[in-house]
Each structure stands twice: as C-alpha cells, then as structure tokens.
C-alpha cells in the first residue's frame, strides 16, 4: 500500500525446518503515526510476528518493509520494548536511557538534553540516579519507554508491555503512553492479549487466531482519543471483539473448559 510506513507482506514462519507453521501468510500495512494492536491468545504467534517485524527472527516466506526497504536485522529505526523491561540492572536510570544514544555520534550535550527530556516525559526526573532494582515494575517500564523514545525510532514495538503490572498501574501507564503518542506521533505496534488495552490505545486491532497464526479479522476503531473505558461505544467494540474472539477458539477446547 502506498504511503504506509510498515508493510508486512505475506509473512510465513516455522521454527526449525520441519516445525509447525507458526505464522501463515500474514499481511497488513501500517501508516505513519498509527497505533495498531495485535490481539490474540497466548501461543498464537504474536511475539513471533513482532520479532519478525523487528528483524529479530528470520521468516521463511514474505518480507517486512520499513519505508519500502526490507528489514533484515534489528535496527534503531524500530525499537522493541521487552515484556520484562530489559533494563540493565548495573546502570542507573539515566544511564539506561542514555544507552541507545552512546554510539549515535550525538554531541554529548545534546544526548544529555535528550535523556533529561524523555526522563521528564515519563515523570522520572527525580529517580535518574536510582538503580532499576530500586524502582517498581511500573517505573521500570517507564524507564524502558523513555529509553526507546530517546532514540527517536520510526516504529516502537511493544510485546505485552504492561502484562506484569497491577490494574491501576496498567491503566495509568496506558494513559501516559496514549498521551505521549498523541504528542510525539510515534508509530506503535502493540502485542497484547488484553482486549481493553487494545481498545484503549489502538487505531486498528488485528485479531489473530492460532495454529497456524493468521490474521482473523481487522477492526478499525472510530473513537476519538482519549477514550472512556465506560463509554457505550467502547462497550460496543469490546463486545464485537469478544465475539470475534469466540470464532478464533477451537470449539472442542471451549466445551472442554466448561
């Protein structure tokens, strides 16, 4: 599609030569500044797809284009936020955020200013000298977000970024992320199994079904941001997606579970 920033084009993937098909002919496009969610049950291939997009995994067929050029290896243009935050425990918060800038050839002062700017954006200026182990999980994820933002990547990939956090912290961070995204207009590809999270943050949701991993349905959300989780339109979409989800389940497992 013309004008799209990321094109996922017929991606198929198996682990090992004779492994089962984990991704089967996945294709979609993402425009610049868009937030899209990949929603699916655990094990349906969401992380694998995200790793292929980030260049962390090779695919068997198809390609991922960033600005029209195939992605073959990880790069700073497309930064991954890890589920376990991936902070370096021996570096202070500030030094963690600086990590991606150290080899960027940035003048020292500009790098410092950028670190300060993004630390402020995630509200951690006063924790700059703390070690990650001294922070709560939510704060650690904010450091990771600041570290990703500091590189000013074209795309941010998030793999269940708030999965390990309690509900309040999660809501709070989702809100924060949404505001930052509105301001900075980053392109975000978010993997989640949380319907509300996908509904709250995304412009479009791709529902995945497992065995093999395929896009089952695309849902465009025509709701203004910031969204109200108790809004009736929000409820309507939630129901719609929940119903779609039922289709992705294999009948037998549902009956078995009941």
């Amino acid at each position: 599609m013309a004008g799209s920033l990321v094109s996922i084009d017929g991606v198929s993937k198996t682990y090992g030569e004779h492994g089962p098909l984990v991704l089967n002919n996945v294709s979609f496009n993402i425009a610049k500044g868009e937030v899209i969610s990949i929603l699916g049950k655990s094990g349906c291939g969401k992380s694998t797809l995200l790793n292929c997009i980030g260049g962390f995994e090779a695919m068997n067929e198809g390609q991922v284009l960033l600005d029209g050029k195939p992605i073959t290896k990880p790069s700073k243009r497309c930064v991954m936020l890890m589920q376990n935050y991936g902070l370096l425990p021996w570096r202070s918060v500030r030094k963690n955020v600086e990590l991606g800038l150290e080899s960027a050839g940035l003048p020292k002062q500009e790098a410092e200013e950028r670190v300060t700017h993004y630390l402020q954006m995630v509200g951690l200026t006063d924790r700059a000298t703390s070690l990650p182990s001294e922070l709560s999980g939510g704060m650690q994820q904010r450091v990771a977000i600041a570290r990703a933002l500091a590189i000013q990547p074209e795309v941010i990939l998030m793999d269940e970024p708030f999965g390990a956090l309690d509900t309040f912290t999660r809501y709070y961070l989702q809100d924060e992320l949404m505001q930052i995204q509105q301001r900075e207009k980053m392109t975000i590809i978010l993997v989640t199994h949380d319907i509300d999270e996908a509904l709250y943050l995304s412009d479009r949701i791709f529902i995945m079904k497992p065995n093999p991993g395929e896009i089952h349905k695309e849902v465009s959300l025509k709701l203004a941001k910031p969204r109200d989780r108790s809004d009736s339109d929000f409820q309507h979409y939630r129901e719609l997606i929940f119903n779609e989800f039922q289709f992705t389940q294999e009948k037998a497992t549902i009956e078995f579970n009941i």
Partner: protein, 253 residues
C-alpha cells in the same frame, strides 16, 4: 553487629588452636627446635617484625602475587569474553583446557625455570597459571549464561561487537566473574609459597626454605602464620568486592 557477635567465637577458635598446640608441644616432649611451641614462634615473629626483614619479604611476595594474579585476570577475562561468544571455538578448546587445568602449576616449574630463568618470574608464572583457569572457566560460563534479552537490546541499538562485549556482556556476566576472581585468588595464594620455592631468593616462600635450611623451625612456623594471615586479609578484601558487585548487580535478575 553480626561481626561483633562473631568476634568472641573467632577469639575462642584461635585460643583453642594455640592451647592444643601448646599441649601437644608439652605432651609430645619433642625438642623445641623440631616442634616449636607457640611462645617460641611468637618470639620469632616479633623478631622478624622488629628487624623489619619480614616486610621486605611480604612486599616482594605481594608484588609477585599481584603481578601474576592481575595479569591472569586480565588475560583470562578477555579470552573468556571472546570464547564465551564463540561456542564452536570453545567446543574445540574446552577439552584442552580440561586437560591442562588439573595439572598443578608446580608441575610446569622445570619448563618455567628453563624459559623464564630464576628470580621473580617463576613465582609470577606459577601464580598466573594457578589463577588463569578458574577465571577463564567462570568467565566463559558466565558469558554463555548472559540473558538473551540483553543481547537483543544490543542488536536493537546497533552496537558493534566490541561495544556489546564491553557494555553488555562483561557487566552482565560480572557477578559470576567476580565469583571466579574470588576462587582464583585463593588458588593463586596457595601457590605463592610453592612458586617462591622455585628459584627465588626472597619472599615468604624463600624465607620458609631458608629457615628450614638453617633448621629454624620457629621461623618457618612464624612465616606460615604470616602467610595465613595475609591470605585471610586478601580473601576478606575480595569478599567485600564480591558483595558490592552483588549488591549493585542483584535485585532485578
């Protein structure tokens, strides 16, 4: 606090040791020259402290020790960092290391004297060998255990190989490496004396040989006390270093 509580036990241990020693000396009825009682050893210790000779020997011994140990640590850590990242190469080298490692560094002494002469070098080389293998092995296994997440971050941030080693792999494997440094320190200290018995004309190991040749067993024993005491201090020192490392590095992993 904990240290204060332990203090009486430590004192008691040493008092007990000296008491048993004294009793053995009395009951055994050996000549004081062959089995020096604590008091004679104490006198010998005081005399070498007063005339200052022990300090020259300690100084040269510590110089040899740190030269051998620090060189071994540098070489082994660098090598370990690289080899840990090259699994295929390590598979080839690992068996060789496993064969060389159990060989006592002293076994090499004939070659060492031939190749390096006498003086400081034999002791330094023997200490190097003693420290080298524990550090190498702990570094390689530490590097292999580095969390894949960190390596993904390095790739994502487009770090060069050298940068990845320096900024990610080395610090990530540091707690385990520090543990290797601790073990190597003990091993190397044990071989200091043996190393200085090979062609040295000074140092604590030489002092023992020299005192034996003049049949001053009280002096031999005084030397042993000094070696034990210094070993304890070194061990405590690196133990604090290790605790510090674990405090900084621990927590989130």
């Amino acid at each position: 606090m904990a240290r204060l509580k332990r203090f009486p036990f430590i004192v008691m241990g040493f008092v007990l040791l000296i008491a048993v020693w004294q009793i053995a000396a009395i009951i055994g009825g050996h000549q004081a020259a062959l089995f020096p009682p604590p008091l004679k050893v104490g006198e010998a210790l005081v005399s070498i402290i007063v005339d200052g000779s022990i300090f020259t020997h300690i100084q040269i011994s510590l110089f040899r020790f740190f030269t051998g140990y620090v060189t071994a640590v540098f070489v082994a850590v660098l090598l370990g960092l690289v080899l840990g990242r090259l699994p295929v190469v390590w598979q080839v080298l690992d068996p060789v290391v496993q064969v060389l490692r159990p060989v006592s560094p002293i076994a090499w002494s004939p070659f060492i004297v031939l190749w390096f002469g006498i003086g400081n070098m034999p002791a330094i080389v023997i200490i190097f060998i003693a420290a080298f293998f524990p550090v190498l092995l702990s570094t390689v296994s530490a590097v292999k255990k580095v969390d894949k997440t960190y390596l993904r971050i390095a790739a994502n941030f487009e770090m060069s190989q050298v940068e990845t080693l320096w900024k990610i792999v080395l610090p990530a494997s540091f707690p385990m490496v520090a543990n290797g440094l601790h073990m190597a320190l003990g091993a190397a200290w044990i071989f200091l004396v043996a190393g200085e018995m090979v062609g040295a004309q000074s140092g604590l190991g030489f002092l023992i040989v020299d005192a034996r040749n003049s049949l001053s067993l009280d002096l031999v024993m005084a030397c042993i006390v000094v070696i034990g005491g210094l070993g304890l201090i070194l061990d405590k020192g690196i133990h604090y270093f290790e605790t510090w490392v674990n405090r900084i590095w621990g927590g989130t992993q």
